[in-house]
Symmetry: C2
Subunit: 267 residues, 2 copies
């Protein structure tokens, strides 16, 4: 017998997000009934961990589940959506940047269930503090997604497609781009026979500060001081990598512009 | 009577680094005897917290201290160095990017004491885990600085001027530039009536991951997937700020190049 609010769920996709989300949902007493992946092997790998059925043919998907979670690459969502017919069963995708409406052809009831975190297949994610952004085309579907969200996270937010696009852009800038800065810093240090370890306390403190302060107020370094001499010397150290030099100049300029005009317009 | 390894120290400068460093050294049983600042008021503010003398004339500096710490803006170090004459008293600066040799005119014994952290005047810093980079022109001065470093931190490293320049460049990229990314993300979210709070768990996880993994291995997002459709949509969201668009394009391109060629040359 099904427990209260416990759903039977089909996963379409077996990548990083699908893996972590399915494991978390199973742990919260939902039942994953099937995992689909174009590559049967990938579906099997995840299905094994969930103790459910693996399929690689969309026609084999059961029609009796409560919820269908499409968790594939952004480009593949539309493709899946055109081939999947679920009448009025609730279907969602998990993407930050794809409009909810692409699921219109699939079912009368559709929505988005977007956990705002960076996932890898291996390291287990603690969902409790992860913001889950939900959106649906009807109040009852939204309620289902809100309860589903709260079964794994304390932080569930109603976010429409336009807001979600903004959040996703901000996430790319604040996380993907910063991670690339760490990668460049490590490359520069390694090249000079040092390790990124020496910077880790400073990196940690930089993110600690924004827990309680606006990052704009916490900016330090040669760019915001307009310390041209230091910037010139640092550009020289980057000789040999024109892209890094361009990035250095552009970001430094942006830091100064930002600080001079905190109300800088973003039309 | 002076305790073993306890030094009498004069601070030249009363800014963020001087403030935090002086407070930490005092707490570790060193004696701060004077604080100099061009603006007497600034010197007084810090001297009051240290219970020592404030001065605004370099000629008033006592000659009997064990150590003179120049902690002023990079550009001002040379200027101070030309006006200060200390014979053979140990003098250091605290800068990441200035060569040790600029202190040659000041004394026969000179060096660098560079705490690798971002400081503000108000929020107290825990020095214990902060890397302190030391360099000196003689073995005995180096030993003094190593012991001084270990009196406030568990992480003291011998770093020469060339290495220190590299570390400082890497720090600017990994900390100042990432902080600017946070500032831009906040600006974009605020403009759309949302708060940076929604991104904070993701930002935290991004830095957590690099504790145990190389950032290059952890890169995610549209750029590394070469997901042109998403990148195109995000660029459109940035319409109205040409600098942000340029930055977005340049960093995205660099992420892809980096991942395709992890041995990318940095000549």
């Amino acid at each position: 017998m099904k427990k209260k609010n416990s759903l039977h769920i089909v996963f379409i996709g077996a990548g990083n997000v699908a893996t972590q989300l399915a494991l978390a949902l199973k742990k919260s007493n939902h039942t994953i009934v099937q995992v689909y992946s174009r590559q049967l092997q990938n579906a099997q790998r995840l299905a094994q961990r969930l103790k459910c059925t693996a399929i690689s043919d969309l026609h084999s998907i059961v029609k009796s589940a409560d919820l269908y979670i499409i968790s594939v690459k952004d480009d593949a969502i539309v493709e899946v959506a055109t081939r999947l017919k679920l009448k009025s069963k609730l279907v969602v995708h998990t993407s930050g940047s794809v409009d909810m409406k692409v699921l219109q052809p699939v079912s009368k009831n559709y929505g988005v269930f977007y956990p705002l975190q960076t996932f890898s297949k291996t390291s287990r994610v603690r969902f409790k503090t992860i913001p889950v952004c939900v959106e649906a085309n009807s109040a009852s579907s939204l309620n289902t997604l809100i309860l589903l969200g709260h079964s794994i996270s304390d932080n569930v937010q109603k976010i429409d497609s336009e807001q979600r696009r903004t959040i996703h852009l901000a996430a790319v800038i604040a996380c993907n781009f910063t991670n690339h800065m760490y990668a460049i810093a490590e490359q520069i240090l390694n090249k000079n026979k040092m390790s990124l370890d020496i910077l880790k306390p400073l990196i940690q403190e930089t993110t600690n500060k924004i827990k309680t302060h606006s990052p704009a107020e916490m900016q330090t370094g040669p760019a915001i001081r307009d310390d041209k001499k230091t910037m010139e010397k640092q550009l020289q150290l980057l000789t040999g990598n024109v892209d890094y030099q361009k990035m250095y100049t552009l970001i430094s300029k942006s830091i100064l512009t930002f600080s001079k005009n905190k109300s800088a317009k973003l039309e």
